[in-house]
Subunit: 383 residues, 4 copies
């Protein structure tokens, strides 16, 4: 209810503010027996972290994760995994002008109106910094999914009016991490980079979008109606900071397609299972996964914190004033949003894997009632 929990069987509960002492999250419902180390998580945190390149904020956060519980001898125990990530480089001073004079299109005003107060340093709880928790939890979800043969990837397919051509899943895997923009089409990545530099120079920012895809998703994930796979992905992706649109399959284009055009005929695969001839349906039929790749897109608006003069209204003094936001900010969100979108996709899918009974909530080996010490290679008995 408080907005800091995601998932039903695989639950993430987060805490932390941008300029607070630490960020952290608790992962509940991760089955026992998954090999897991801080490095598994760090890998994704490093892709999200600030200061990676010229097009990300210069805030210097190592974002080093510490696992506080839920692991025994390198394997998960089925009990809650507590993660803590210290904040190191918070400089709140620059936010003082905005304590009672909200930044345009930020959460400053809405948080203060809702709660009568807010943590104002660096955007506090409303800062995208909070997604460090999502990425940490998502890394664990990814590991579980990989065990089940599910792979997923995202890349930046649009910045401003520069759009990438369609790329294959393999191209995404190969190219999207090669450039600072995280676009899997190298030439387009260059164009995007130039465009971003342009806006950055003039003290402005620009929007964009992220394409995501999951392969190997089994048939049968998603519950009918309110908890359809598309509905839960809708929630997951619209929670991404700055998201203004979520599409799957044909997305908004579907408005112009006829039934005959969009419908995917059935044929048989080699094993005699019905499979769709095409995948205009985006891997989801009747709200439930069809076995085809699940793909879609998330639009992120331009960062609102820009070093241009804008007008604000100070509710304490009753005066209008002109202010610039001079903290350290990203000129564009999708490049750092890629691991965030992947995390939300992974968290949504792993939850449905548990809900459908394909992953056993108690243990990854799916053998209820077997007690053993194999998960404890380093326990005294095994030495």
């Amino acid at each position: 209810m408080n907005g800091n929990r995601f998932g039903r069987l695989f639950q993430v509960t987060t805490f932390g503010e941008s300029h607070g002492e630490a960020m952290g999250c608790t992962i509940s419902g991760c089955p026992a027996g998954l090999e897991l180390s801080a490095e598994d998580i760090q890998k994704d945190l490093d892709r999200r972290k600030p200061g990676q390149s010229m097009i990300t904020t210069s805030r210097g956060e190592p974002d080093a994760v510490s696992i506080k519980s839920g692991i025994q001898d390198g394997y998960t125990t089925g009990t809650p995994i507590g993660l803590v990530i210290q904040n190191k480089d918070a400089r709140s001073g620059k936010y003082e002008p905005f304590i009672t004079a909200p930044r345009p299109s930020h959460g400053d005003f809405t948080y203060s109106a809702k709660f009568g107060t807010r943590n104002w340093g660096g955007g506090g709880r409303s800062s995208a910094r909070e997604t460090v928790n999502w990425v940490a939890a998502g890394a664990i979800a990814k590991k579980l999914l990989e065990r089940e043969g599910i792979e997923l990837k995202a890349h930046v397919n649009q910045i401003g009016d520069v759009e990438a051509p369609e790329v294959s899943f393999e191209e995404m895997l190969e190219h999207s991490e090669e450039n600072d923009v995280r676009c899997a089409h190298p030439e387009t990545a260059d164009e995007m980079q130039d465009l971003i530099a342009e806006y950055q120079e003039e003290g402005d920012s620009i929007g964009g979008s992220i394409y995501f895809e999951a392969q190997g998703v089994p048939v049968g994930l998603g519950a009918p109606r309110f908890d359809s796979l598309s509905a839960r992905l809708g929630q997951a992706m619209m929670a991404v900071p700055a998201a203004t649109a979520f599409e799957f399959g044909l997305g908004t284009e579907a408005a112009e397609w006829t039934g005959k055009e969009r419908n995917d005929d059935w044929e048989f695969d080699d094993e005699g299972t019905p499979v769709p001839v095409e995948n205009d349906h985006g891997g989801i039929q009747g709200g439930i996964s069809s076995g085809e790749p699940i793909y879609g897109e998330v639009t992120l608006h331009a960062p609102t914190s820009i070093p241009k003069t804008q007008q604000t209204a100070d509710w304490e003094t009753g005066e209008l004033k002109e202010e610039k936001v001079i903290g350290r900010h990203d000129p564009v969100l999708p490049p750092r949003g890629v691991p965030v979108v992947e995390a939300m996709l992974a968290l949504t899918l792993v939850d449905f894997m548990l809900l459908s009974g394909r992953l056993n909530p108690d243990r990854v080996d799916n053998q209820p009632g077997k007690y053993d010490t194999d998960y404890h290679p380093s326990n005294p008995r095994n030495e």
Copy 2:
């Protein structure tokens, strides 16, 4: 988990299949003291019901709602409201060819693969008929919202490549129910009607989209992060049958706007409260309502049941076959989808009104601990 529940404090739990005996839902969490009659609900059901016009299925369902509990002398009691709607005109025979040979892009295959079985008559649980429950529950939510000064409306703003120009909220209220298409722009409505007739004639169907808007929403609805107003609207709207995209504010267009362009400066209203100069942010900032109108759009793909020959694969016989879907179906979904989108908007908002403490979960008069008999005008003491 089973997909038939929506909401956290204002909860709707549904049951029923397209060709089953009855549809029904239980509304939990409606505060006591709301004047409510079957007519209040019927009004919206009539807008969703089949057989209204040439562009809706000819299935003859009166969709008469019966209130089984939760009302005393015309007022809600704060306890669960049970609603039942009988199914009258089900003809399952036409669906026999598809029992083991799934219709293209329908839920036939995914339901059978998930559950090993399915109610196959008329699409069973996956049929859009199930939204009769949503609209019934939504009507109650709307009544509560109206009490609090919140008004909402939707209309059809696109069918195929015919798009309506921007209309005001007042135009939506005035014109959207005047024509069969439910488009608030009369000339466009005519065009849409012609386009639909064309596709209908050639045995095809077409997609479209619905624009929605809510006015009078107070500042402060929505929780930070995963339960942001946009995330919960994302889930609500992506649950609408055939939804492939959800947008709010600038939606997909936001990719091309700069921060400077999209940011809304602050000024003061007459009471000295900061208000945004414009509403490019779509009424939501930092995931929380800003007090400005909330608006957005939902894309619905073309109906998949079309009387054209399509290929299917019979998993029992192992044979491919050509089939036409010859039940009674809509050639286009948005016109009947308008009350459904309104219902989901209302259910989402009323839930947040309760979660934010603006509506008292126990009673609409917000006076905890006062017992009286005023809600019972017809009780023996008041005669």
Copy 3:
């Protein structure tokens, strides 16, 4: 939140008031493929229904259940099961004196204070009549558990100061349904019967308690800490109308046992699995089932509706008055409470069977991804 929902993966959502038009519930999360008929449910409803004997209220309710959805050709489909039970014999007139003058120790005052109103006929939503829904849902849970080798039974082990000696599970199965009191020890049943008759004659009522036991529960049900099997049973049983105490294992007696006395040593069973030598722990260790029988006790206070003169305070007139409650009421609750306690035990266990992955949420055959028509013996293809 509204109190009408029980369970997490196997969810029951209820509606209905004692003198309303109908009672009903929706079961969400029942796996597909379970053979189920109205008779399966009716069997247990008949054990709970009023008018069974001299020691139950004379209200004449057939309590005939109607299944509205979720069944295809005699098997569950994995989608919500809607049940409705009509109320037939409601005579509200006798409750008029209590509209604004609450009956002693009833929910009349608390409901009115909470909601500002209430359904006053026959106790409305607070009436034990509502447990008809629990028993209906519980009957489905029992069928699922039986498939998994779990059997459960309850019987009345105390009425007033008459206590039954310890009986075996087999005796419970054999004798508890033989007498009106539902005590598995025939001689004690006679004594209880006499005692109840005595109180009934003098216009009073008496308390008692119910013993329950489940056999065949596998090791591993229950989650650590807040969702331990004992905590969830505590909630389930304390929700039973009139419950004032819940005990499992040694219950309150455990206060006087030493660790050495209560601890159960370990030995091996024939298959080399560690098993406790005794079962003083009541089948639950560390909040998780140990594989031993789970047993415990629920105390129910005497019915509050008695035809003796009692003092009430009319909040409308401001006057104290003497009233007798002259509706039709039970002189003792445990006999009809036996199926209710069994239902709550079954609902709690089946939920944990799903949560632990031992029962597949999608289908009872535990074969994800197999689509077939075998669950539809009467579908046209199989004729």
Copy 4:
């Protein structure tokens, strides 16, 4: 689902094992504007902490709490409060004999059977050490309740066969923290102390029980049926480690009382509100608080870790063996259980205060939509 979350609007999510790096919890749903410091929490942690006296384990844990988020200038912000408590004095070596040979009546076997593994040091996740999180969260709940005029207290009313006479709420407040046993009746406390010393000397342990009471609870808390105040208290208290019975009001004694004896007549208070003449109903009627004090009792069995020789079965070697549990353990649980029971009572009540609308989920001042900086006395504007 994972057992580490309590509450619905006021939610506590915990992590940590007895011998892990740290314990921690996240409190979601605490309204903004509550003055809160680490000291407020520490106070209760010190009452629960080990090594307080001769009758508690000698493990040396300072249990110092660190607040990581959710506080601005000494006031809560309405966003999640993250707490971390380091573990300092863990000595796992003594638990090695029990890795594959479970301690009698502990969670060793059930955890390993459920998850296939477990954190075996000091009982891991199943250790009562985990309640340090509950007490921390409960301290915040208590502060909120105090603001609303609700006071609560628990004391030890039975150890073995030594029972305390009935004491008043005032006596509990005055005396229960004066002695190591936490019994509000000083003479009985001495007897209890002697009894415990006796058992401790002979290497055994003993059970006992805790009485709790809450005063100032308003009328109307608790939802009908499954979420009645008694049902939710039942869950809360049966989650307390070693709890085998929960009673409220007359508890198990109610079996022997008649309706006439137990029913509480109504009279008027000075303001013309109906109030019960007595409180045999324990402050709850129809599952909802009546305004009278809520009281009850929790039985805790004897600690299972005792330095006596007991038999265990090693599942790895297949051999039976005799072992003593030689860690540092409490000879009796109720004295340290007092703050735990208080915490669970507070968490249950504060949740219902929010659910009933008596406490505003967003802010303690109940003024939705007012933004101000008063909660930030130390912000730069207020200096």
